[in-house]
C-alpha cells in the first residue's frame, strides 16, 4: 500500500499552438505521488487541468517539462515503451458505454485482448474473468447484445473491456455521471473490489459525494496548478478554500458547516451519515436528561 506507483515532479504541460498568444499552460509545476492500491480523486472545475493530467498517465500526452513516472516507466523519455504502458494503465472515459459496438458482450470485451494477439484460450479466460469481476457472469451475459442491457450494465461491460487488458492502474473519468442511484451503488462496489485486488484507481469526478465515498486521497486542481491535497476529511473541512477554487463540499459537509455557523459544536471528524446520526442522538439524549 505504501509503494508509490505514480509520481510526477514539476510536471508542466502547454498545448502546442501556432499562435503564441493562444499558448496557455494547462499544467503548472505539478508534483504528486500516488500509492499502489489506493484510490486518488482529481477534482477541479472544467478546464482546471484534470483531463490533461490523466492523459499523461498513459502517455497520450508527454510533459513539456518535468517528469512523470508511472509503474516504473518514465513517460516523457525517448524510447519509453508507451505501448506496454497503455496496457498497464486502463482508461475508462466518460460515457464509455457509447463506445460499445460489437454484437455480443463477449466480442466487445474481447476486442482489446484480441489486438494483443493472445492465444484464443487466453482471450477467453480473460473475458470470462473480466465479466465475473464486474458482476456480469459470462454464462448469462456473454452472448447477449450490449444494447439490450441497462445503462449501468453497459457501463460495466465497458469496464470489463478495460479490465480484460489486466491493467495495474485504472483511470476513471466521471464514472458515475448518468447512472441512477442503484447503478452508481453497483459501480462503486465494483471499484472497492478492484482496490481490494490491488489495482490503483485514479478518479476524475465532479460528484463530491462520489469522491467522499471512493477516494483515499484528493488532489484539487485550479487553472493548471495543484492547490489542495489531502484526505476527503481534510479537504471537505475547508469549504471556503474549496469555494475559492469553484468547488463545493458534499451536501452532508455543507449541513455540518451550517450547523457550526449556528453555534453548534460539531466535531471535525464526523464524515458519514452514521457519524452525524450517532453524534446528534447522543447530544439529544444528553440535552433532554439535563
Amino acid at each position: 500500500m505504501n509503494d508509490t506507483i505514480i509520481r510526477t515532479q514539476h510536471l508542466c504541460y502547454t498545448y502546442a499552438a501556432q499562435q503564441a498568444s493562444l499558448r496557455r499552460p494547462a499544467l503548472i509545476d505539478i508534483t504528486l505521488e500516488i500509492a499502489q492500491g489506493s484510490c486518488s480523486a482529481l477534482i477541479g472545475v472544467t478546464g482546471s487541468g484534470k483531463s490533461t493530467l490523466v492523459q499523461h498517465l498513459n502517455g497520450l500526452l508527454r510533459p513539456t517539462s518535468g517528469s512523470v513516472l508511472v509503474d516504473g516507466v518514465e513517460v516523457g523519455a525517448a524510447g519509453a515503451d508507451l505501448q506496454q504502458l497503455r496496457q498497464r494503465v486502463g482508461m475508462l472515459f466518460q460515457f464509455p458505454e457509447a463506445q460499445l459496438f460489437e454484437r455480443t458482450v463477449f466480442a466487445d470485451v474481447a476486442f482489446g485482448p484480441q489486438r494483443l494477439h493472445l492465444a484464443r484460450q487466453e482471450i477467453r479466460t480473460r473475458v470470462v474473468r473480466a465479466l465475473e469481476m464486474v458482476g456480469l457472469p459470462h454464462k448469462e451475459y456473454a452472448q447477449r447484445s450490449p444494447f439490450e442491457l441497462s445503462g449501468g450494465q453497459r457501463r460495466r461491460v465497458a469496464l470489463a473491456g478495460v479490465l480484460a487488458m489486466q491493467p495495474v492502474i485504472l483511470v476513471l473519468d466521471e464514472p458515475g455521471v448518468g447512472l441512477d442511484a442503484e447503478g452508481k451503488a453497483e459501480f462503486y462496489a465494483q471499484i472497492h473490489d478492484l482496490k481490494r485486488q490491488g489495482i490503483t484507481v485514479v478518479l476524475v469526478s465532479h460528484d463530491m459525494a462520489e469522491v467522499a465515498t471512493l477516494a483515499d486521497q484528493i488532489f484539487v486542481l485550479d487553472q493548471g496548478s495543484l492547490v489542495m491535497e489531502g484526505t476527503p476529511r481534510e479537504i471537505f473541512a475547508q469549504p471556503a478554500t474549496l469555494r475559492d477554487h469553484g468547488l463545493a463540499p458534499p451536501p452532508l459537509s455543507s449541513l455540518l458547516m451550517h450547523m457550526r455557523q449556528r453555534g453548534l459544536e460539531v466535531p471535525a471528524e464526523l464524515m458519514t451519515v452514521d457519524d452525524v446520526f450517532d453524534f446528534l442522538t447522543q447530544k439529544h439524549r444528553f440535552d433532554s436528561s439535563r
Binding site: A181, H206, G246, L280
Partner: protein
C-alpha cells in the same frame, strides 16, 4: 387553478418505434399520462433513467407527439404540424449537452439565429438578443466565440437562445448533468430567477432529489406513468418509496428522516441544508 392549463396531457401514450425489429413486449415510454401544467408554475419531473421523464418533456414542445391521447399547449394540439412552430415558440427546451443547440461562431449571432430564421426585423432582433444575454448574465461575452465559454456559460447561452423567442415555458432536461458543482448551482438559481422575475413556467427534468427540493410541485415518474405528485414536503416524507424508485436520497434528508424516527423534533418542512441546520441547532 381554474384557468385552462398551459400544457395539458390527456391520456397520452407513446412507444418508440424500432425499425425492423419485432417488438413483442415493447413497453410504452409514456403509458396513459394525464397531467396539467399551469402557466407560471415551477414543476420538477423526477425519475430514474428510463422512467419516461425525457419522453414526457419532448411531448411538451412537439419534438414527439402522442400515439394515443393528445397534448394541448395553450390550446394548440401538438399533432397538428401546422401548429408546431407556434408550440415550440411557446415552450422552449434546453438539453444535457448545450453544444447540440449552439450553431453560430459568435455568442450574439447564436442568440439571434432563431429570430432571423423567423424573419423578424433587425431592430427587434437586436433588442431581444440584448435582453436575453442580459437575463442570463452573458452580455459581457457577446462577441466571444461559444467555444471559448465554459460548460456553464454554454448552457446559459443555450437558455438565451430559447429566451430570445420569448417563450412562456422553458424545459430544462437534465440540463445540469454535465456541469461542475458551482455552475450547477448557478444554473438552478438562473431557472428560479427566470421563474420569479419573468413569470416563466419552468419544467425542470432531473433524477436528482436535491434539484427538485425548491420546485412548487414535483411529479415522480416510473415506467411511463406518473406515480406520485405533490409539494416537495409531501413527496419527501416517504424516502423509502423514493429509494425504491432508484432515486438517490441526499444525505442531509436521510439524516433528518432517521433523526425524526429516533424521536428528535425536526419539522418535515425542512428540506435544504440551511433549513435542517436551523432545526438541528435549536
Amino acid at each position: 387553478m381554474n384557468s385552462s392549463p398551459l400544457i395539458d396531457f390527456q391520456r397520452v401514450t407513446y412507444t418508440y418505434p424500432r425499425a425492423g425489429q419485432k417488438q413483442p413486449q415493447d413497453q410504452p415510454a409514456l403509458d396513459g399520462i394525464s397531467l396539467q401544467i399551469q402557466d407560471g408554475e415551477y414543476l420538477a419531473i423526477l425519475g430514474h433513467n428510463g422512467s419516461g421523464k425525457s419522453t414526457l418533456a419532448r411531448h411538451c414542445n412537439a419534438l414527439l407527439t402522442p400515439d394515443r391521447g393528445r397534448v394541448l399547449v395553450s390550446g394548440l394540439d401538438t399533432r397538428d404540424t401546422a401548429l408546431q412552430r407556434r408550440v415550440r415558440d411557446t415552450v422552449g427546451m434546453i438539453f444535457q449537452h448545450p453544444d447540440n443547440q449552439i450553431i453560430a461562431t459568435i455568442v450574439e449571432d447564436d442568440v439571434a439565429w432563431a429570430l432571423s430564421v423567423r424573419g423578424l426585423p433587425a431592430s427587434l432582433i437586436v433588442e431581444r438578443v440584448n435582453d436575453a444575454l442580459e437575463a442570463v448574465g452573458l452580455a459581457h461575452l457577446r462577441e466571444q466565440s461559444p467555444q471559448r465559454l465554459s460548460g456553464g456559460q454554454r448552457q446559459r447561452l443555450a437558455i438565451a437562445g430559447v429566451l430570445a423567442l420569448r417563450p412562456r415555458c422553458i424545459i430544462a432536461d437534465e440540463a445540469t448533468a454535465q456541469l461542475d458543482p458551482l455552475s450547477r448551482q448557478e444554473m438552478i438559481l438562473l431557472l428560479h430567477r427566470l421563474h420569479r422575475d419573468y413569470g416563466l413556467t419552468i419544467i425542470h427534468v432531473t433524477h436528482l432529489l436535491e434539484e427538485a427540493v425548491q420546485a412548487e410541485r414535483i411529479v415522480v415518474m416510473q415506467r411511463g406513468r406518473v406515480i406520485m405528485q405533490g409539494a416537495p414536503t409531501s413527496i419527501f416524507s416517504d424516502l423509502e418509496r423514493l429509494r425504491a424508485l432508484k432515486l438517490a436520497v441526499p444525505e442531509p434528508l436521510e439524516l433528518a428522516a432517521r433523526l425524526r424516527a429516533a424521536g428528535l423534533p425536526i419539522a418535515s418542512s425542512a428540506l435544504t441544508a440551511e433549513e435542517l441546520a436551523r432545526e438541528l441547532a435549536l
